[in-house]
């Protein structure tokens, strides 16, 4: 096994106690345990506190636009399916400005691992309500209490036909790492939502609060991540948040479906001029 250090570039400067530290540790653990080198990994991020991870993690990185991680990651994966393409977003990125892209990457079943770090707030912009903020929550953008009902990412993904849905918790790094590792081995789109406290701008959804509210699906008797109805039930539990591997199914990945040959990455093709073939196409215009 390689060392975690190989993927550690610099010490993060997130607020002390930020849930993102747990995600960072879990990611390094997974990267070290899987059989690939830093150059085989691309981390695509959006805009938010999570996006700083490219500056701390040793791998190829793409810190793009707010909400657009999915199409960028899809482009990378299609051009070079040999790469492990991991996207990291926040709740604003994935469920607000980038919601459309999220659902479409998911329904295409692109072979991406999508880690959505949900802190239920827009933290980098100083604490506005996000799509996962609780109804009634007072934030700087909702001084009279949020009037929006929150989005449940995993439930949305289940309805939209996701082939891998997991939810972890920043306070349980080993468990989170195991979910990310399974997600990265999944051939197709893997959503791993992470319950991740923002200790600066969200005083309600703290580590303790999450500990009181999560329920591990592994502890539900006879729970099978292959059973969609069971997954719905777990996600619909009133007052409890299901964590663990919630749902998994096999379906051909987008790369398998659309690439002429995924063993011959477009990135490694010689873009030489195939004059014979081109001439034949031109004949069609005579």
């Amino acid at each position: 096994m390689k060392e975690k250090r190989g993927f550690h570039l610099t010490a993060p400067t997130w607020c002390k106690g930020c849930g993102l530290f747990g995600v960072f540790e879990a990611l390094k653990t997974v990267a070290a345990s899987l059989d690939f080198e830093p150059e085989d990994l691309v981390i695509v991020t959006g805009i938010g506190c999570h996006g700083r991870i490219n500056n701390y993690f040793r791998a190829y990185g793409f810190h793009g636009l707010h909400g657009r991680a999915m199409p960028v990651a899809t482009g990378i994966k299609l051009v070079n399916p040999r790469l492990q393409v991991l996207a990291v977003s926040g709740d604003g990125d994935a469920y607000s400005i980038g919601l459309g892209h999220f659902l479409h990457a998911l329904r295409k079943n692109v072979g991406l691992t999508y880690i959505v770090v949900d802190n239920r707030i827009f933290a980098l912009t100083q604490g506005q309500a996000s799509p996962t903020t609780d109804f009634g929550a007072v934030t700087i953008s909702t001084p009279f209490g949020s009037r929006d009902f929150p989005i449940d990412g995993p439930a949305l993904a289940l309805g939209a036909g996701a082939t891998f849905i997991a939810r972890g918790f920043s306070g349980e790094v080993t468990h989170l790492a195991s979910l990310i590792e399974r997600g990265m081995k999944h051939d197709g789109f893997a959503l791993i939502e992470v319950l991740s406290p923002c200790i600066t701008h969200n005083k309600v959804n703290s580590y303790d609060w999450y500990r009181k509210h999560i329920v591990h699906v592994e502890s539900i008797s006879d729970y099978s991540p292959r059973d969609k109805a069971g997954a719905w039930e777990a996600l619909s539990h009133p007052g409890k948040i299901a964590v663990g591997l919630i749902y998994e199914e096999g379906k051909p990945s987008f790369e398998d479906l659309v690439l002429p040959d995924r063993r011959k990455p477009i990135a490694s093709l010689d873009p030489g001029v195939d004059r014979t073939r081109l001439r034949r196409i031109m004949e069609g215009f005579r």
């Binding site: 080198e37 830093p38 150059e39 085989d40 691309v42 695509v44 805009i47 700083r52 490219n54 500056n55 040793r58 791998a59 190829y60 990185g61 793409f62 810190h63 793009g64 636009l65 657009r68 999915m70 199409p71 960028v72 990651a73 899809t74 482009g75 990378i76 299609l78 051009v79 070079n80 040999r82 790469l83 459309g100 892209h101 659902l103 479409h104 659309v258 690439l259 002429p260 040959d261 011959k264 477009i266 990135a267 490694s268 093709l269 873009p271 030489g272 001029v273 195939d274 004059r275 073939r277 081109l278 001439r279 196409i281 031109m282 215009f285 005579r286």
Partner: protein
């Protein structure tokens, strides 16, 4: 001898006007004529007025001209709509009733034939759709077109998809139309066209030429969202891309299309997207990203009438300034404007080399008139196609470099580029301001150096850009400046002006940005009256020229906000008024 002939086919959307026009265009081309087509369509599938003009000439033509010689009208409304365009001694074939409703002064000098296409098609072949082939047969009698060629085209069109029976019935219908026309018309109404050798030419639209150019240039990733009039680029690529090992992706919107192409380009593909007005506006965000990240992505924008959804099936040059000055922040970009289908091919190939050499977004800016209409062209020269991948590093080179700097401060501002998966090439593409390795750096000194690095990338680019093309007399008082698909109208206006003893020259801009200020200044200084010709309301090209040439003499501006193609007449009249 007839040297120029325009046939207009008009009816309702769903009538098969497009099909009939396309067969006629192909037939005329195979008969050795130069062809230019023009489709005037509603943004609707069925029921509204539509027309298709096929102009053919023995001389090289780039556009439509001013005149219609023969109108084939599938209904009365089509006659009423187009009668003023019909030339003296023109012929009108009309299906159905209504001709009697026209006043004698409107119809003077024109011959009318009631030609009950629909009922004939129904009676003889059981289906109205055969009216199109009867009409083509009739036209081939009047124009004395090569009937063997017509049969050959019918066979090519139907044999694979519909089988031998359909081919046979269509050939019969064409022969029937031919005989009917012989019965109806007098010999003096015939306009026999000569036949020439159809040597090494193709009949192709601008969109198809861009698609072919992209494949030739090694484009192996294409992502787009459906939009008129750019979808034909995609449709022309989608069948052949797998054979080249590449992929075409339909995205959820244009935001995704450009972002996906950016991701693909970052990973090492020659990548492209295409769009039109509303999609281009959505792409502005990622356009800026490509500029900041220095990712080589090609964007084809086929302009249509805006603003908003505007008129999706009408052409305009209303988005010229969008890509030159558009999006947030300042970053280099290259905007190319092909004026012929041949240039659509050549400049697409060029775009893919420029984009990797200069590592900034390259825009191919055309218009619906260029994109969707067909022109004859010499077969594209594949032997001239070269691939230049710029400062893309080879894996061997990377091992030698200590700490790879993707955004290295180099004298020309262009930095080496590695691809994900390459050892020792690790870097981050960062949308935030970044240091040489791509990591976030918001320091003042770094910001200033990084801005200068990016902005100087195009300082020496002029040698690689398509210079303006000068047409016409070396010395002339009247000078035209235009770009894109107004070229045909300008060139024919110059011919008409010459007949009226007015000599003129024409500077065709082929690169809009970086702006070729030297050449334009020189051209303007050598002309007494300069007219900027453009297909928009506010004179965007003139605004661009004036912003880049200072001081600049008074420029005439011939604009048109019309939904129709620019005509030579629209240029000749204001010029004569101004210079006389």
């Amino acid at each position: 001898m007839i040297k120029d002939m325009s046939v207009m086919i008009a009816g309702k959307a769903g009538d098969g006007v497009l099909f009939t026009g396309n067969v006629l265009a192909k037939l005329l081309k195979r008969q050795g004529w130069e062809v230019a087509t023009y489709r005037d369509f509603p943004s609707n599938i069925r029921g509204e007025d539509t027309c298709y003009t096929v102009r053919s000439s023995l001389d090289k033509i780039y556009g439509l001209g001013d005149r219609v010689d023969i109108l084939l009208a599938f209904d009365c409304a089509a006659i009423l709509a187009h009668l003023p365009e019909i030339a003296e001694n023109g012929i009108v074939f009309c299906d159905g009733e209504g001709v009697t409703a026209l006043s004698p002064e409107k119809t003077r000098g024109k011959t009318f034939h009631r030609f009950l296409l629909r009922s004939m098609a129904r009676e003889k072949y059981g289906r109205e759709i055969f009216k199109n082939m009867i009409a083509l047969g009739a036209l081939s009698y009047v124009l004395d077109l090569d009937r063997d060629l017509l049969e050959q085209i019918i066979s090519e069109t139907f044999l694979k998809r519909k089988g031998e029976d359909v081919v046979r019935t269509n050939i019969e219908a064409a022969a029937f139309g031919y005989e009917k026309a012989r019965e109806m018309t007098t010999e003096t109404e015939r306009h026999p066209l000569t036949r020439k050798e159809d040597d090494d030419r193709i009949l192709i639209s601008g969109d198809e030429a861009i698609a072919l150019g992209a494949l030739a240039a090694g484009c192996r990733f294409f992502a787009a969202y459906p939009i008129c009039p750019a979808s034909e680029i995609w449709q022309a690529l989608v069948h052949d891309m797998p054979d080249f090992g590449g992929v075409v992706v339909q995205t959820e919107d244009e935001l995704a299309a450009l972002n996906m192409a950016i991701g693909a380009a970052f990973a090492g593909a020659r990548a492209m997207t295409s769009t039109s007005g509303p999609g281009a506006s959505l792409m502005m965000e990622a356009f800026s990203m490509a500029g900041m990240a220095e990712v080589p992505v090609v964007i084809a924008h086929v302009q249509r009438m805006g603003p908003a959804t505007g008129m999706p099936t009408k052409s305009q040059q209303g988005d010229v300034l969008q890509w030159i000055f558009g999006s947030h922040g300042e970053f280099p970009r290259i905007v190319l404007a092909p004026g012929t289908v041949g240039e659509c091919f050549d400049m697409t190939v060029r775009a893919f080399n420029l984009v990797e050499k200069y590592q900034c977004p390259v825009i191919l800016l055309t218009e619906l008139d260029m994109g969707q209409n067909y022109r004859t062209s010499r077969t594209f020269d594949l032997s001239a196609v070269r691939i230049d991948r710029g400062k893309l590093v080879r894996p061997g080179e990377l091992a030698a470099l200590p700490g790879f700097k993707r955004y290295e401060f180099t004298p020309d501002g262009i930095s080496p580029r590695s691809l994900p998966g390459q050892k020792n090439g690790i870097h981050v593409v960062e949308s935030l301001e970044h240091d040489e390795r791509g990591y976030r750096d918001e320091g003042l000194a770094n910001r200033l150096r990084m801005m200068e690095k990016r902005m100087r990338k195009l300082d020496g680019a002029a040698v690689d850009l398509a210079p303006p093309q000068v047409w016409g007399f070396e010395k002339a008082d009247v000078g035209f400046i235009a770009c894109g698909s107004t070229l045909g109208a300008v060139l024919e206006a110059m011919d008409e002006l010459r007949e009226k003893k007015v000599a003129s020259r024409f500077l065709q801009l082929r690169t809009l940005w970086p702006f070729p200020a030297e050449e334009v200044r020189e051209f303007i200084s050598r002309s007494r009256d300069v007219f900027v010709v453009e297909h928009n309301f506010a004179g965007q090209l003139a605004t661009l020229i004036k912003s880049q040439i200072s001081p600049c003499q008074e420029l005439g501006n011939i604009v048109s906000a019309s939904t129709r193609e620019f005509t030579p007449r629209a240029i000749v009249e204001p010029v004569l008024k101004a210079v006389r």
